[in-house]
């Protein structure tokens, strides 16, 4: 019994760790897309932030400098996206695609030129990373049934950024639904004309949304290379930006359901690592690839309206041109 509990807690703890970058990136996408700007470029921003954070942390020996670098770079890229899509009414999907490709090339090029380790950055010492934090009492409670594993394995012992990601969800919900900024943000994504008529700049609102999204994506990237991992590895975002996008759609562009979608996808990921070539009673061996593809299949089914209905922000993807 204790064993099952421990395994379950370890599985859920892994879900949290794998879900963190998804949650942060999906929330980044939420801000951007709720303001009406499609954000295909989550993947690229996360990758660039991972590289910047790892490089800065390696140079300075400080995880915090790394995090700051990751956030700054990610915001800068979001501003390029904004310049193309908001200022010049460019196609948002094309811009995101361009940035994704550009950043795969740029991070590898810079990593190779600066460090010559096959596209990696030097391995970070513990001091330059975000290390697991033991919450109070986690040692004392280990032996206690139920509460022990729950507190010591699941809740305690993650690094700071995991807690940041979890806290970012209620914070995002509060900002989106309970503040003036959030109201305007949602309005600009649903009906920019009305917002403009009210004397609020559509472009300024969308730029602000992109800055918030850039910052969140920057944390997601820094998490990959300075918390979960200990270096930047070529293409280390490995589709997580797209998975986050899928979670955002699966969560219907709302914070709490998006969190649940991220955790579901992360759980599938944690599970498939443990299910490799394990035969399930009555099912047989489930191909790992099926579990890996599951988030994408689910998202397609959702988009098709077979599992609930995803209603996107109305003005999403449409450049706003002021009537002259």
């Amino acid at each position: 019994m204790d064993d099952t509990m421990a395994t379950a807690m370890a599985l859920l703890a892994a879900t949290l760790r794998l879900g963190t970058p998804l949650i942060l990136a999906a929330l980044a996408g939420l801000f951007s897309e709720r303001s009406g700007v499609v954000d295909i470029g989550l993947e690229g921003k996360m990758l660039a932030a991972a590289f910047a954070a790892a490089a800065a942390a390696a140079e300075t020996g400080s995880a915090w400098v790394g995090l700051t670098a990751g956030i700054s770079v990610s915001i800068a890229i979001a501003m390029v996206h904004g310049y193309a899509c908001i200022t010049h009414n460019g196609n948002q999907v094309v811009s995101g695609t361009a940035l994704n490709i550009l950043l795969v090339g740029l991070t590898s090029t810079l990593a190779q030129a600066w460090y010559r380790q096959g596209g990696q950055t030097p391995a970070l010492p513990d001091g330059a990373r975000f290390r697991p934090i033991a919450l109070p009492l986690s040692d004392a409670l280990v032996g206690v049934p139920i509460v022990g594993p729950l507190w010591s394995t699941l809740i305690s012992g993650h690094n700071l950024l995991v807690y940041v990601a979890i806290l970012a969800v209620p914070l995002t919900a509060f900002v989106i639904y309970r503040t003036r900024f959030g109201l305007r943000l949602r309005a600009v994504g649903e009906n920019p004309y009305a917002v403009d008529t009210a004397g609020i700049s559509v472009a300024a609102m969308r730029y602000q949304a992109l800055i918030v999204g850039g910052a969140l994506c920057g944390i997601a990237g820094a998490y990959l290379s300075t918390a979960q991992g200990a270096a930047f590895i070529r293409e280390m975002s490995a589709g997580k930006g797209f998975l986050a996008l899928a979670a955002l759609i699966f969560g219907k562009w709302r914070p709490l359901p998006t969190l649940l979608a991220c955790l579901l996808f992360a759980f599938a990921d944690a599970l498939q690592a443990r299910l490799q070539s394990v035969s399930l009673p009555g099912v047989g061996v489930v191909p790992v690839q099926l579990i890996q593809a599951l988030p994408y299949i689910l998202t397609v089914l959702l988009l098709a309206g077979f599992v609930g209905k995803a209603i996107a922000p109305k003005a999403i993807g449409i450049p706003y041109t002021k009537e002259k």
Partner: protein
């Protein structure tokens, strides 16, 4: 105001603008090189001679060009219907699966029988993989950009499963099928050219190049000289107007996606039947995404697509020389250039266009006055 020509000449949009965007993209790439203590001039030199310096390199360049023509045409056809097919990568992968299955099943038959089957399978499998997102867009309103991205991942998972668990050659650890019988391989260009007395070194350039040019010609005829192409463009330009003209947008969307996927699937002919002669993991190698750059750069016109594909073919081949010639750069630099080209030719197309067009409008107006 006197009546005067108010439009800029066509060549401004068709030729000058892509060139200006390309120069901007290369200029930024040059800055990256400069920042890494490398000479941009040398970079261009390495790229150019790496791509065209020897007959062998020309062969490689044209081999890459072949795949990029297919991928670019795929994106272009969808664009004409107002759709952004970002799923060329997955469609090429599944198209290659079709080619592989045909060859594994029938490679004892003569080449002349297998080739048409393989072509049909490449197009059919690719078209089927794009048909589903097309159908979902047309009938259920699921955005094709998102569904095609998802289908890329699903295709990758499916192919990994098939190659690791099902189609793998028994008794081997690398996830590949057995090699097809030599009789069904596509003829290589150097064999033919050497046979007729033109000495040509070995390269992967094969008969698919001719298919690619033929596909470009067929796409041109289809888009501008058939009723179907007209209807497809009508939906792309103005869906509501098309409805009043008696055209069914949902039908056109599905047709456009299927054709687009079919073209992307043909990448599998060049790669699987032309070069690798077996099915293997990850063979589309990002070519589907390069198709986006190629279509944007080529302004969705088959001639433009072929020229842009040649440019990217040259970049790809020239890029393989970078790491031999330059200490601080490697072929990833080509990916940087690819991203910048998409950025300038696609997302930032409104950066130079209004200014350039205004300039030429003024000149025309002045000339007319």
């Amino acid at each position: 105001m006197t009546a005067g020509p108010t439009e800029a000449p066509r060549w401004v949009g068709l030729v000058l603008l892509p060139v200006v965007n390309l120069v901007a993209a290369f200029a930024l790439a040059g800055l990256v090189a400069l920042a890494l203590n490398e000479s941009p001039i040398q970079l261009m030199h390495v790229l150019f001679f790496g791509a065209f310096g020897t007959l062998e390199s020309v062969g490689f360049t044209l081999y890459y060009t072949t795949s990029f023509i297919f991928a670019g045409l795929a994106v272009a056809v969808a664009f004409h219907c107002g759709l952004f097919n970002i799923g060329g990568e997955g469609q090429a992968y599944i198209g290659g699966l079709g080619v592989g299955l045909v060859c594994l099943a029938f490679d004892t038959l003569p080449f002349i029988v297998v080739l048409p089957l393989a072509l049909l399978a490449a197009m059919g499998f690719g078209a089927a993989w794009a048909y589903v997102p097309g159908w979902l867009q047309a009938k259920r309103g699921s955005h094709v950009v998102i569904t095609t991205i998802m289908f890329n991942f699903i295709a990758a998972a499916l192919m990994t499963y098939l190659l690791v668990d099902v189609l793998i050659k028994p008794g081997q650890s690398s996830p590949e099928t057995r090699e097809f019988a030599q009789g069904v391989w596509l003829p290589l260009a150097h064999d033919w050219l050497t046979a007729i007395g033109i000495p040509m070194p070995r390269s992967p350039l094969n008969l698919s190049f001719v298919f690619a040019l033929a596909a470009a010609a067929l796409v041109w005829v289809f888009i501008w000289h058939t009723r179907w192409g007209y209807e497809l463009r009508a939906v792309g330009l103005n869906e509501e107007a098309a409805v009043y003209a008696g055209i069914s947008p949902s039908r056109q969307i599905i047709v456009a996606m299927a054709i687009s996927g079919g073209l992307a699937g043909l990448v599998g002919i060049n790669e699987i039947l032309g070069v690798h002669h077996r099915l293997l993991l990850g063979f589309p190698a990002g070519y589907g995404f390069i198709g986006i750059a190629v279509a944007l750069m080529g302004r969705n016109h088959p001639v433009g697509v072929c020229l842009a594909a040649l440019l990217f073919g040259a970049l790809f081949q020239g890029g393989s020389e970078i790491s031999f010639e330059m200490r601080n750069l490697n072929r990833e630099m080509v990916v940087v250039i690819e991203g910048l080209v998409i950025l300038f030719c696609g997302a930032l197309e409104n950066l130079f266009r209004p200014r350039l067009e205004a300039l030429f409008r003024r000149r025309r107006a002045a000339a007319a006055a």
